[in-house]
Every structure is written in C-alpha cells, then in structure tokens.
C-alpha cells in the first residue's frame, strides 16, 4: 500500500490529470446521450407528441438502445471515397469537440484528492478563450472534409455550405466577445468569471447587461457555428438528404452526432462563462440562505420522481423511478447535512444550471424556428451580425476610455 501511495505522491499531477480527463469524457458522453433523449422529449411535447417512451420508463433507456444500434449496425464504405480523409473526418470532428470542453473550468474551488489540490477543469490556460476559438476554428474541417471525401453530390454541397457558413460566422463570433475581453482585461476564463463578481448586487455584475449586443451576436453566431437549427443548412434534410454525413453510417455517423452535441455543451458553457457570470450566484453575497437552493430543487424533484414512479404503468418503472428519485433526493439531503460539500457544489450548481438553460434554448429553437435560406444566411451574417459586433466593440472601448481615470 505504501509503495502505491508513494507512486501517487510522486506522479499526482499526471494521475489526477488522467483521471479527470477520463471522468470528464465519461460525463460528457453520458450527458450527450441524454441530451438526445431530452431533445426528442422536449420537441415531441412541443408538437403534442409523446416522444420516446417504450424503452425504459419515460424512454430513459432510449439512449442506451441508440448507442447499441450505432455500435452494431453494418458500416458500409461507399465505393469511390477517399479512404483516408473519409475516416479522418469523423475522428477529427469528435476529437476537436471533446478537446474544446477540456478548457472549460467548472467550479471556483480546488478539490483536495489525497493531499493534492486540483481544480475543477482540465487545463487553465492564459489564452483560454483564444484556445477555444482556435479549436472551433479547426472544427470546420471535420464537416468540410466529410463532405468532400464522400465523393457524392449532396455531401459535397453540404460541406461547401458549412465551410462558407462557418468562416462567415466565425468573424462575428470572435468579434462579439472582444467587448467581454476588453472589460475583463484577460483571456483566461477563470479571471473573466471573477471579473463579473459583484458582492453587493450579484446578478448586476454580470456581463450580460453592458454586453447585451455582444451576447446576442455571440449566441446567434455560436448556433450557426454548431450547425443547429435555424442554421442547419449543411445538413438540411429537405434539400440535401442529410448533408455532409449522408454517406456515413453506424459509428462514424455517431461520431458526428456526438461532436455536434458536445459543441452544443461547449457553446452553452461559454455563453454562461462569458456573459452570465459562470459559476457566480445571481444573488448578493449577503443572502446566505440561497446556498440551500440546490437542496431545495433536488429534494422536491426527487420526491416528485418517486411519486411519479409509484404511479407508473410498468413494473420496471415502478422499481427504477423511485430508486432514481431516492438518489436525487438523497443528494439534496446530503448537501444540507454537510455544509462543506454544500459550499463546494455552489459553483458547479450555478454553472450547470446556466448551461442547462442554454441547452434548453437550443432545443426550443429547434422546435420553433424555420430554416434560413442560403442567401439570407449570408446576408444576415455579413450585413447585420458583423457590423453589430463591430459597433459593440467600439461602444465598449469608448465606454472604457471615458470611465478610465486618465
């Protein structure tokens, strides 16, 4: 045992990094799977349907069934594809999407693991936000190359559309956060969050109020960057079959799918961090009772799940759902019983709640908005979004100049 602990002490940094990466990968992939379930459920209810409800109670096991289907399906490679690029494209898309999430910090406090402190988040870069943009900038290759390598006309059109769209909206995306960077005076994501801290007024310190123009530009451009509705022209079903991934099946298709949902999570996290105070609570620091909010949400929700489970039609649901509810409510009770734990989860709780809201908005938009026409998309990006982003930069710079002492 002592040899093991000595090995740990010597290589703690590496070991912790590997464990954190594995854990984050696991969490992100699980969240991805359940995001598809969430999306299908929410869109279904918006359209007065039930959504998935056959596999498991409330369709909760649907993601597992989908995963198994992706793994077991036949994986044909069409004739005439460029083999190397055809295989490279989904790998590239997935790898870049998963890398980008490593830069996101998830909480303010350090966690003490057997005598070594480690922060929540894998890397903490000085150029955090720039590194994220660099990775998203490379993300376009996954889509463009997939379209080209398939050697088929619809994927090619999808790839062309997406590369044009992503270059166009990247300008607005990058320019729209310049205001935030000017106000914070740093590229580091942690410092950007700290700069929004306001002990007296809480929510009023967030960047969303001075940077409302920047936020609108950022969110619209970010939705376009992730190729989601209403900017999903690269994969427009009614025009291009499935766009760039028409010729991809089985797990290679799943990789594009996971990449898309992962970038949705990254973008939502980035929105919360840049404009909505990240892990900061919206309440003034003096309102200490708000720290029981996680328990206040978890316990009733857990009890509701138990109640719902008891009434559920199938035997399986009657067993699983109350169990799930007990775990959720138990977490809430745990937070109340251990103040240290409760204090620690405050940051992640707020950040994750904000991320969840943005993910919901993604799904909401998919349920409501029609798709852009291609020329409208280009005109919108270049003639409206880009000028507004530039105006925002000028306004912010002027305000900072006027308010600075000399």
């Amino acid at each position: 045992m002592s040899a093991l602990s000595a090995f740990y002490q010597a290589n703690a940094f590496l070991i912790l990094a590997v464990v954190k990466i594995a854990l984050l990968m696991f969490i992100v992939l699980t969240v991805n799977a359940y995001l598809t379930w969430f999306e299908r459920k929410v869109v279904a209810h918006m359209q007065s349907r039930w959504g998935p409800h056959r596999v498991g109670p409330h369709g909760l096991l649907q993601p597992l069934a989908d995963g198994a289907k992706f793994l077991l399906k036949e994986d044909p490679t069409p004739a005439g594809v460029d083999k190397f690029v055809y295989y490279l494209a989904p790998l590239l898309a997935l790898a870049l999407a998963l890398t980008s999430i490593a830069i996101i910090p998830f909480g303010p406090d350090k966690l003490n693991v057997f005598g070594h402190e480690t922060s929540l988040g894998i890397v903490d870069l000085n150029i955090g936000i720039l590194a994220l943009f660099a990775i998203t900038a490379l993300g376009v290759y996954g889509v463009a190359l997939a379209g080209w390598a398939s050697n088929s006309k619809y994927p090619l059109l999808g790839g062309l559309r997406s590369s044009a769209q992503m270059i166009s909206y990247e300008l607005a995306l990058t320019l729209s956060v310049v205001g935030v960077i000017l106000m914070a005076g740093t590229f580091n994501l942690r410092e950007i969050i700290e700069s929004q801290y306001n002990a007296r007024w809480g929510i009023l310190g967030w960047n969303i109020f001075p940077q409302i123009l920047g936020f609108l530009c950022f969110y619209i451009a970010a939705v376009a960057e992730t190729n989601r509705v209403p900017f999903d022209l690269p994969e427009a079903e009614s025009e291009l079959v499935a766009g760039f991934h028409t010729e991809y099946a089985s797990f290679k298709f799943a990789m594009f799918f996971i990449a898309e949902y992962t970038s949705m999570i990254t973008v939502s996290a980035l929105c919360s961090i840049m404009f909505f105070g990240g892990w900061l609570s919206p309440f003034p620091a003096s309102w200490t009772f708000t720290q029981f909010l996680p328990s206040l949400i978890l316990i009733p929700f857990g009890l509701w799940v138990i109640w719902d489970g008891i009434r559920y039609e199938t035997i399986f649901g009657k067993v699983i759902l109350p169990g799930l509810g007990t775990v959720i409510a138990g977490l809430g009770v745990l937070f109340i019983l251990f103040p240290a734990v409760n204090h620690f989860v405050q940051g992640p709780f707020w950040l994750l709640s904000k991320i969840f809201v943005f993910l919901f908005v993604y799904v909401w938009m998919r349920g409501t908005l029609p798709r852009f026409r291609y020329d409208q998309l280009m005109a919108f990006g270049w003639k409206l979004l880009l000028p507004v982003a530039i105006v925002n930069v000028i306004l912010t710079a002027t305000a900072i100049l006027v308010r600075s002492p000399h």
């Binding site: 720039l130 943009f133 660099a134 900038a137």
Partner: protein, 172 residues
Amino acid sequence: MSLSLILFFLLATLAVIGAVSLILQRHPIHSALSLIVVMVALAGLYLLLGAEFVAAVQIIVYGGAIMVLFVFVIMLLNAAAEERTDISKIANSGLILPLVAVLTAFLGVTIARGTEFMQAAARAPGQGLVLADTRALSHMLFTDFVYPFELTSFLILVAILGAVVLAQRENQ
C-alpha cells in the same frame, strides 16, 4: 534530454513530415491537409517558445481561415489529382532538388554558426522560458507599431475590394 527538447523534436519532425507530404501528395486536398499539419506543429513550437498569442492566432487565422479558404476553393473547383506535365524544363531537369538542398544547407549552416545574440541567449538560460505577455504585445502593437497596424487595415480593405472585383461576373 529535457522535456522541451523532446517536444521540439516531436513537433519539428511532424512539421518536416507535413512539408514533405505537401510535395509528395498528388491531390490538392491532401496537400492542404499536410500544410495544416505543418501549421499546427508550428503553433506547438510557438507555444514552446512562449509565444501564446501568436500560437493562437496562427491556428485561428492560418488554420481556421486561410486553409479553410483553400479547402473551400479546392472543393468548389472540384480539383482533381495533379497531372505531371513535362512542359516546364526547370521542374524536370532534376537539378532543383540538389540546388535547393545546397542552398538550404548553406542557409542553415550560416545561421547555425550563430550570430552574437543567439550565443548570448544560449549563455543566459531560462530567459526564453518567460511567457510572452499578451498585454505587453498589444501595448507594443498599438503604440510603437500603430502606423504599420493602420496600414494593414488599408491593405485588408484593398484585398476585400480586389476580391469583390475578381468575383464579379462581367455583365455583357
């Protein structure tokens, strides 16, 4: 061998392999991919040199904009694999490879013998380990280099106009 040396050799090998592959690949898309590999490797080397901001800009602008434009044009024109025609006498004379190799070797040896400040830098270890401060970089850009900076904005304007003129179809 220190970690930075190992990283240097890894990235340098990657860059050279990318550059050689740029020459050997017949299809423009494969050449473009090789060039992207070179650029990413160079961004890694910039990080190793402490130039964080330049590394990020290298990937965002070179990797994310310029090379995407190349890939876009290759896809748009549906360029096929390169045909090796024998019209050019220089390219087929078999002389260029030795010629370029000799020139490169000459250049490399001259520089490798080192100028004064490089030897000074070698004598003062640790100097380069300081991360370049992005704030200092921007301060310099907007004070000492403000006229060149404004000139580049003019250059970009000219380039945009040029691209618009080129893209315009002549209306008969």
